[in-house]
């Protein structure tokens, strides 16, 4: 019984665990709704120093500055899109961890779908061809005659 409980506790804590947060309590906004918006925005913005972390996860100085800046914009009354645009205007679209859909990124966004389509087409062509090969060819006239003769003879 104790063991089961301990096991359940371990699982519970493992599920609750999240990456250690870089956001410091002093950075957080008092208004929980604004803070939640700021967190959501920061998770989508790339830290330019470490590049594969969002500014929400990064401990870099610049990430801290950008987190504070996003919060300042929100407090100043910016919408989420305006706050993001403010950063993009300065650092370019590279800061967006999720690239926008536009002509320059069509290849990026469409390539998975194209790969699936080409792959499926390849599989279909292959299966069709294999089925055609598995079906036995019709007997030739000579074979037909031989078969008939064997049947009529009634056994070897």
């Amino acid at each position: 019984m104790m063991r089961l409980l301990a096991f359940q506790l371990v699982v519970l804590f493992a599920l609750l665990a999240r990456p250690v947060l870089a956001v410091q309590p002093s950075e957080m906004l008092a208004d929980p709704r604004l803070e939640a918006r700021a967190r959501a925005i920061s998770e989508e913005l790339r830290c330019l120093v470490c590049q594969n972390q969002s500014i929400d996860e990064s401990n870099a100085d610049l990430a801290h500055d950008l987190r504070v800046l996003v919060r300042e914009r929100l407090v100043a009354g910016d919408s989420d899109a305006q706050a993001v645009k403010y950063i993009v205007d300065r650092y370019g679209q590279f800061v967006l961890l999720k690239p926008p859909v536009e002509p320059a990124t069509y290849v990026l966004w469409l390539s998975p779908a194209l790969l699936v389509i080409f792959g499926a087409a390849g599989i279909i062509v292959y299966l069709r061809r294999r089925r055609a090969q598995l079906e036995p060819a019709a007997l030739s006239a000579a074979e037909e005659a031989e078969l008939k003769r064997l049947i009529e003879e009634g056994g070897p």
């Binding site: 100085d61 610049l62 370019g92």
Partner: protein, 176 residues
């Protein structure tokens, strides 16, 4: 014919990959394309680092081709780059500095020890102006044309190669 294609195709794909990787060898994945090339200098006004100077603001960067260098005394590559800045200043290029998130007393000592190549230096204590300039790794150097438009940005320390091959020709061309 078709059978031969099946054998050749993977080889071609492989060669394509080799070509792509080879081309990527010399490219720096840390380098971020600047959003500010071709755009006007951001609106800003910074207090002077040195007493008796006027600081640095947007209007100072108009009417002349200027290099704007973002530096800090805590930045090691800046130290490597400094002699090159001194050389550029000696050759008569106008250099302005943004002292990024630095302690003013450290920055002053830096200039006393290593020399001061800058005409004007603005002190960006909080790094907010740095963000307006899209700075993400000190040192950074911008070439600003007469109209106050950013034409070029170097992230990381300048090298003799970049100066001779890119910056000097660009400044010469813009100054015509």
């Amino acid at each position: 014919m078709r059978r031969r294609l099946i054998f050749i195709l993977p080889a071609l794909v492989f060669l394509g990959l080799v070509a792509a990787f080879y081309a990527g060898l010399d490219r720096d994945p840390q380098l971020v394309p600047s959003a500010l090339i071709g755009k006007p200098v951001p609106q800003f006004a910074l207090p002077a680092l040195l007493d008796g100077n006027a600081g640095l603001k947007t209007a100072d960067l108009k009417g002349k081709v200027v290099l704007v260098n973002v530096f800090a005394s805590w930045c090691v590559p800046c130290r490597a780059e400094h002699p090159l800045l001194m050389r550029l200043a000696k050759e008569g290029l106008e250099l302005d500095g943004i002292n990024y998130k630095d302690k003013p007393e450290d920055a002053k000592l830096w200039l006393v020890n290593l020399g001061d190549p800058y005409k004007r230096i603005g002190s960006d204590l909080e790094g907010t102006v740095g963000i307006d300039w899209g700075v993400y790794g000190v040192p950074e150097t911008f070439v600003v044309d007469r109209a106050g438009t950013i034409r070029f940005k170097q992230v990381g320390p300048l090298s003799p190669g970049v100066i001779n091959d890119t910056i000097v020709p660009l400044v010469r061309q813009l100054s015509k």
